[in-house]
Structure formats: C-alpha cells, structure tokens
C-alpha cells in the first residue's frame, strides 16, 4: 500500500531505449545517435505526450513530498521531491519534453537524471492508473 521513493529503483524499472538521447526532443543537452533510429521514433512520439493527472487521484503536499490517494482503490502513494515536481507538471498541457525541461530548470538535476526520472515516474503512474488514460 505504501510506495516509497521511486527514484531508488527507476534505473532497474525502465528499459534502456529511454535512457538514450533523442533528436526529436530538442533538448539542449541531448542528441540522438543515428543508430537509434527505430527507438528514437518511438521516443519522439512519447515525448510529445501530454500527461494529465487522473481526477480520481487526490494529492496533498506533505513535508516536501506528495501523498497521492487513489479514490478508486483507497491506495496511497508517496512521491519524493522529484516525483512531486513531475506530478505538478502533469496538467495535460505540457509535453513530456516540456516537463523534462521544467524539471531540469527547477531541480538542477542533469538532463540525463531528470530525463530518467520523468520517464520512470510517468511510466509507473501510467501503469498504476494515476494518469488519465487518454493522455499517456
């Protein structure tokens, strides 16, 4: 029921293609090698997604973290500070690419770290139904 920090295992939970750079992302710190063309196409499409929080998930800030409560299941999820920053960006009006840039600017994380965090969290939340299904 209680989900701890997702950052600690994000590298293990996320497949390799998303940890490589992508030319479509327009990120100043990232570029996609030509050899990654098939994954890059998928990657570019994904980075244009505009994730939105599921309205049936209620979040409250709590000592720098965020506690999410899934109204459908009664389950709680705790987001650390990076998860909180990403969650706040999931308004349905920002692409993953824009969220990545915002996280870079807000947290000071390297582009790779922020990138991995964004993708890992979004994937996890999508899997758990915490995001609106039509946005991810």
């Amino acid at each position: 029921m209680w989900c701890g920090s997702r950052l600690t295992d994000q590298s293990a939970s996320w497949p390799q293609p998303f940890s490589v750079p992508d030319a479509d992302t327009d990120c100043p710190e990232k570029s996609v090698p030509p050899t990654q063309e098939p994954d890059a196409a998928h990657w570019g499409k994904m980075m244009r997604l505009m994730p939105a929080r599921n309205p049936l998930v209620q979040g409250v800030p709590m000592e720098g973290d965020t506690i999410l409560f899934d109204l459908r299941t009664g389950r709680l999820h705790r987001l650390n500070s990076l998860g909180t920053a990403i969650w706040e960006q999931c308004t349905g009006s920002a692409t993953l690419h824009e969220i990545h840039r915002a996280i870079c600017a807000r947290t000071g994380l390297s582009s790779d770290r922020a990138h991995d965090g964004v993708v890992s969290f979004i994937s996890q939340w999508s899997h758990e139904g915490l995001l609106s299904s039509d946005t991810v």
Partner: protein
C-alpha cells in the same frame, strides 16, 4: 472549545422520548445534530443510551436529521431489504470495521448498493445504512440474547457512517483533552492505546473517547468530538492501575472479550465534549524500562490513520475523508510512542509537549 459532559445516566433530561404503539422514539442532540432513535425492543433501547449523548451546542448543520431504526425480525428472510443487480461487495470476512473491539465480532459481509451500505452480520442481523439520506435500519434476529456491547457497537457503527456526509469521520483511536488541546492515541488492538489513555486520564486529562474517535472537519478548523463508550480493558492493563486493580467492589464489568467500566466512575475529572487536535500518538508496547517518543513523519502518520481501502464506498466521501485526515496530520505533531514499563509516568513525557503546542 470544551463543554460539560452529560453523564449517560442523566440522559433523560437532555432527550425526549415518544411512544407510539410499540415503537419508542428517542430524540437526541448529538453535537448539534438532531438524532432520532426508533426501536420496538427494550433490549435494543440500551444500545442508544449506553453511551453519552451531548447537547447544548450550536447546531453545525441546523435542520439536518439522522434517524436510526433498530427492530427485531425472526430470521434473515424477514429482513425487508432487497439488493439490486448492481450491488457490489466491499468486504467479506472478520477484519475490524470500527474500533478494535469489533475485531472478533464482525464476521460480516459489506455491500454497496446504490449509495446504500448493507452490512450482513452473520447470525446476528443486517444493517442498512443510507448515509446520504441520513437514515439507518438494523434488523436483528434475537437481540435479547445478544450482549449489550454488540448492540452498542452496531449503533455506534451505524451512527459513524451517518456522520461521514457531515464531514465527521471515525478514527481508530482514543482521544483525550487537556486545556483545550486534544491528544489522539491511534493504533490497532494490543498496541497500548487504552493503557496510554488510562495513564493520561488519571493525571487530569479529560476523556473524549475510547477505541473510536470522531474528527469533525469544519474546513477552517478541526475538532475532535466526544464519542464516549465504556472503556474496555484487558487484564494486563488492569494490573498497571491500582484504582482498577484494587478497588472493592470492582468497578469492572465483564464484557464479551474484555472488562469494561465508565470513565466517570473512576476518574473524577469530567469528560470533555470537543477540542482541537494537537498531538497524535502511535503507541507500540516495548519491554524497555522507560517510554520514549520518536517523531513520526506526517506521511507515515497519514498512512497509519487511513481506513482500510476495501471500505471506501463513495469516491467523494473518500476524498473528503482523505483531505480531513491530511489536514489533521498537518496540524498535529505525530509521534511513535515506544511504550515502556513506566506506564504510570507517561504524563511526564506527554504533557510538556501538549502544553507547548
């Protein structure tokens, strides 16, 4: 914030009763809510009057009326409740639903049907609770053969469900008050909750509730409301307190699983009616000679206070309850109490912190 507790034995002065044929209606003011209890059975009447009912308070929701109707039926087939095809099961088993003392009593199935909650307590009866409409019906098979504590708990359970749409939520905790400041002691059976309650009561704290507390989220503020019941004690708890252990005649009454007594029979300080929550303790019994407090993160405190997921019946109510509990932990200091053998010294550990808030 605090008021005078009305002793259960003086309830008749605070309530009205009407009798029509075999139907008795008792009307109470419960924290300003108009509560009507109807029953045809004398044995069922005790469930309403076994605990304190409070009056003389500004109406938080004037005009609102809650009705609880309990009656006897010969068997399950005579229960005048039908379920639609869309009814869904929320729970089936023996987990505690409300308060720890129900742990072994509630062999039940809980279903949701069109906003109504149906609680089928196997072998004992059926509760149908329509919280949005403010009414609950209970149909019991042989209430005269049931222990009074069981009927009392069904009454309290029905009432607590009726209170949820009023933003009054039940917590698995005991509650006390000191100088207007509330202390909640939360946790499951056996964690030392009642032992901590008694240790603080005997040092001058005022009693609000045992086992189940009521939290009223008023938006701008928050109150813990009195929801008194007899205090249930295990023998190992009694052994710590000379006023319980050595009293003659013993004030303890044998309940279903534990002994019980009324707080005002032992402790001279009157009960409180409400207070602002300031501290939440999560005790766990240890064999250390001295107790100590460990600050608990608000996130973990919130998790510990949240009800079991399977009992969420209504998304809007679940959201309101979650937000209320979030505000409670934001406003309160939470501690894990490593409860040692120095039980009677607990006030010296807790009181300075309560007074500091």
């Amino acid at each position: 914030m605090t008021g005078k507790r009305v002793c259960p034995r003086t309830l008749t002065a605070q309530t009205s009763m009407t009798t029509t044929a075999n139907l008795h209606e008792h009307r109470f003011s419960f924290h300003g809510l108009d509560l009507r209890y109807r029953t045809s059975m004398p044995s069922l009447l005790s469930s309403a009057t076994a605990w304190g009912v409070y009056s003389q308070r500004d109406m938080p929701d004037a005009g609102s009326q809650l009705t609880i109707h309990f009656e006897e039926v010969p068997d399950r087939r005579a229960v005048p409740v039908s379920l639609s095809s869309s009814a869904r099961r929320l729970f089936s088993g023996t987990r505690p639903v409300l308060g720890n003392s129900m742990r072994a009593l509630w062999h039940c199935e809980i279903l949701e049907d069109g906003g109504r909650l149906l609680v089928d307590v196997r072998g004992q009866g059926v509760l149908m609770i329509d919280a949005q409409r403010g009414n609950a019906q209970g149909y019991f098979f042989r209430p005269s053969a049931m222990h009074r504590d069981s009927l009392d708990m069904y009454f309290r359970y029905a009432l607590s469900e009726l209170l949820r749409p009023k933003n009054i939520f039940a917590l698995d905790s005991t509650a006390l008050e000191l100088h207007g400041r509330g202390v909640l002691i939360a946790g499951h059976s056996g964690c030392g909750k009642t032992t901590a309650l008694l240790s603080l009561l005997r040092s001058g704290y005022r009693y609000l509730s045992d086992d189940t507390s009521l939290l009223w989220d008023r938006g701008a503020g928050m109150e813990v409301l009195a929801f008194p019941a007899t205090i249930e004690v295990a023998d190992r708890t009694v052994a710590f307190f000379p006023e319980l252990r050595d009293a003659s005649p013993s004030p303890l009454r044998q309940g279903i699983y534990k002994k019980s007594f009324h707080a005002e029979e032992i402790y001279p300080v009157t009960g409180a009616r409400s207070c602002e929550p300031t501290m939440i303790l999560f005790p766990q019994v240890t064999n250390m000679p001295h107790s100590c407090l460990e600050p608990l993160s608000k996130g973990h405190a919130l998790e510990a206070l949240m009800p079991q997921p399977s009992f969420f019946q209504n998304e809007e109510l679940a959201k309101r309850e979650f937000l209320a509990l979030s505000r409670l932990v934001q406003r309160s200091a939470s501690y894990r109490l490593h409860f040692g053998l120095d039980v009677l010294d607990l006030p010296s550990l807790i009181t300075p912190l309560v007074e500091r808030h």
